[in-house]
Symmetry: C2
């Protein structure tokens, strides 16, 4: 595409929202399903000649009760401990987002990334309503009980309730690691 062509001027960029989660091993490792989802966006949707026509909105939703205070007893935690822990959480969340932002930068695709907090499925739908992307992409690794706390478990809900078209990138069964901790 020549630089003189600026389709974005007449035809705004396609905004693709991507919900990402960390691996079962915890931060900052990204989950296989989230990596797959970004990979699908970059290789299938965003083509070599279409890079300038896309913007990827990367969202990671942190679940405080599940992820936030695993190393401490929240009943006895002092206010300052909670704050320190929150900062630690935020830092880890940002480190996760960094992985995905780096992938977009390397692929030369415009992106923005942000953290949010709450029930992933509800927050994703809320953010989708506010940002109204053209497409919401979520990875799915199949719904194990433990995994339901991650985005994977939220994909069906979002598929039904999000205010924009949703595509779920399901993992190939071959990609399921033998040890779930490698997930």
């Amino acid at each position: 595409m020549g630089d003189q062509e600026t389709p974005a001027a007449t035809n705004p960029k396609m905004q693709v929202m991507l919900g990402v989660s960390h691996s079962i091993q915890g931060y900052p490792k990204p989950s296989i399903s989230s990596r797959n989802a970004l990979n699908w966006i970059l290789t299938k949707l965003v083509r070599q000649s279409c890079k300038k026509e896309y913007k990827i909105l990367i969202l990671h939703v942190q679940v405080p009760d599940q992820d936030g205070f695993e190393d401490m007893d929240s009943v006895y935690a002092a206010g300052s401990d909670v704050k320190t822990q929150q900062r630690k959480e935020e830092k880890q969340g940002l480190a996760l987002l960094e992985y995905f932002v780096k992938q977009c930068n390397e692929a030369e695709v415009d992106c923005e990334a942000w953290l949010s907090e709450g029930d992933p499925k509800l927050v994703i739908c809320k953010e989708a309503k506010e940002k109204h992307p053209d497409l919401l992409v979520l990875g799915s690794r199949g719904l194990g009980t433990i995994q339901r706390i991650f985005i994977g478990g939220s994909s069906s809900y979002c598929s039904e309730h999000a205010a924009c078209p949703v595509v779920i990138i399901r993992r190939d069964p071959d990609e399921t690691p033998y040890d779930p901790m490698d997930d």
Copy 2:
């Protein structure tokens, strides 16, 4: 994109399969939801500068028991009547496909179209398995009892069972016609 650039050579075209249905009024009028779905593909996915990178695979599944013999009593139908009716059905199905092919031609996007027969949700999944498109797009108009025989009623099933990523283009409630017969 200059003609000297042929990304398709190194990066094959993105194949987008689209299941289309006719209006409740019958052939050859396309349903609003199918028109919406194609419109989404052309305006959102296939960008002005990305036309050469996409191929749209348009499938219409005919339901013989529901659509095929509405004008005749099948118990008393002679073999030749059935054949004539089948030919009429096929012709109507092709006329429906023609609408969508014309849209793709006007948008200068490569496409192919074909008819199939059976339960739409099962046939769509079967064809998706055979053609393995990169994305399956289906329109949805909400699941009225009568509408379940059309593609709209098949979208949730395909979303769960198709062997490729699926995106459902739901109709804006404002687009629902006051008279269902205009659907």
